[in-house]
Symmetry: C2
Subunit: 327 residues, 2 copies
């Protein structure tokens, strides 16, 4: 089934997408919630940020919404509104947009987005997804957030590197499929593929911090690799940061996959990207609370004096400077 967008018109498409969604389409979006307000924005372009050969549109929609909401969570703001603009080339029909939108709606519902807007634009080449989100937090909470200091703990919300491995498998099998035409058996890579194609964020994260009276001083959402986030942390705070190599959580499937492709698993974890995890800095004094109430978090290092820079500490004690990768 393929319904051309031009055959029903943009307005009718938007109407159908919002029908029974529980949301009303409104642009510009007037924020209803009270409190301190924070905005985040992401742009995802086909061919650079995703490949539709192996990414189901529904998964992509879900992931795209997390991609922007993650930035709000990282600064302790609860998602409130989301505005999406899609750039669509003629390749995309109504059913495609409906699939993408279904994933987006699912993520919005899970994360308590209460106001939503969607607009459609023509595009010459492929799919473009622009997302802008607004989050809120009580002034009382924001005012209590401490400044990051030397020796603050750097905590990571889960294992990293798996999404990169998933992407690697998908790219490899795409090449194999293109030359042989045979559908690959991907069952043994389920965990790493899931990390890449359908990452998750636990919606309750901020409430947990507030309830435990642990307000992270700096937070980052990991989409471009742990290394890049540590560099940003160091730059934003004007401090150094030490990450201990053996503390970085890496899943057994990531290690297995790294061995299979003869790649260093730590390199994948540092530079991989698409992890959709968080790093947060918390005062050293909160160490016991983190160990007790945030067992899904791993303390992977600590802030340091500015002259230390951002470094990866090997088990032998060598300090390797962390470098920026990519664009």
């Amino acid at each position: 089934m393929r319904t051309e967008i031009s055959s029903i018109g943009k307005q009718a498409v938007l109407q159908r997408l919002f029908e029974n969604s529980g949301f009303t389409n409104g642009q510009p979006v007037r924020l209803k919630q009270k409190g301190e307000c924070c905005t985040a924005q992401k742009l995802m372009l086909e061919g650079c940020d995703f490949d539709l050969v192996y990414t189901p549109l529904k998964h992509l929609g879900y992931k795209a919404v997390l991609n922007v909401l993650g930035e709000l969570y990282a600064t302790l703001h609860q998602p409130a509104s989301l505005s999406v603009v899609l750039g669509l080339s003629k390749r995309f029909c109504f059913e495609d947009v409906a699939d993408l939108w279904e994933g987006m709606l699912a993520a919005c519902r899970e994360h308590g987005v209460s106001q939503l807007s969607l607009d459609l634009n023509p595009s010459v080449n492929g799919l473009a997804i622009a997302l802008a989100a607004c989050g809120v937090q009580k002034k009382g909470v924001i005012d209590k957030v401490p400044r990051t200091k030397n020796m603050d703990l750097i905590c990571l919300s889960g294992h990293v590197g798996a999404a990169y491995m998933g992407l690697h498998v998908l790219e490899r099998e795409k090449v194999a499929f293109t030359s042989s035409g045979e559908q690959p058996d991907l069952s043994k890579y389920k965990a790493v593929l899931g990390s890449y194609l359908s990452p998750e964020i636990k919606p309750g994260i901020i409430d947990r911090f507030v309830e435990a009276d642990v307000l992270p001083s700096n937070g980052y959402f990991l989409t471009r690799g742990l290394g890049e986030a540590i560099l940003r942390l160091s730059r934003d705070t004007g401090l150094g940061a030490k990450i201990y190599l053996e503390k970085i959580p890496i899943s057994s499937q990531t290690f297995a996959m790294a061995e299979e492709i003869d790649m260093d698993a730590v390199t994948a974890a540092m530079n991989g990207g698409d992890d959709y995890k968080f790093i947060f800095t918390v005062p050293l004094g909160k160490h016991d609370v983190i160990r007790k109430d945030f067992q899904d978090f791993e303390v992977i290092g600590h802030m340091a004096r500015p002259d230390v820079g951002a470094v990866l500490v090997t088990p032998e004690g060598a300090e390797l400077p962390i470098h920026a990768q990519g664009f």
Copy 2:
């Protein structure tokens, strides 16, 4: 002079762009202003929304910022923050981005944007510009905005159709230049070209409304034609709207150009797009204030009963239904 972005790296590019700009790059953006908050978002894609063959990057940057801020002004919100993500293919060098950014900075300064963020993403094809803006307004002002009623006046903030004519000239001369190689003489089209390439918005618009105690009930920023905006107005309010053909302000240059290309000037005005003007609805009782204090506005029609629909009334009294154009 051509400096490849990859040769200096993204971070250094961002640093140079913000140097001496008076702004600090921060994403996500925490809104500092108090009041009711409103967000707007636009996505502009090369090949659909602009053509770099005849659009200077600096003009494009300026116009792109107005494109998103206009949506805030339309709902009476003062621009506060702006977040920009650029998708850049390898065709674009640092100097290109710097030109585009210069135009963006100029628009931000003129319109009182106090917080600004920029991010750069790779793109396979051409330039993509994603803009998300946040505006604020005092709760007391927003609470006083009346509901749009039958017989409310529909006011337009300037003449329309000129930008479409400018685009038409540019497209025509591009074709001529491609076949002949001769640089066209565009001096006689200066006014319509200016309307398309460097539209303006007067920053004081909201203050004027507040000071005159005229708070428009509905406002729309004209980027896709007057006709489309009237349809949205009718849809959003559940009312009809009558626009009087002979009241639509059209510049003499637009009329001249329409004659030259044998096109109906009113059709250009209704469907043209890129006008960067506003329509506002105001209560009928404010008629005298509008005539006296808002002489740059033209009353082009009024709201009507729902069964009237959105119509264009000819000088002979015929009512032509307004139809949606484009995507």
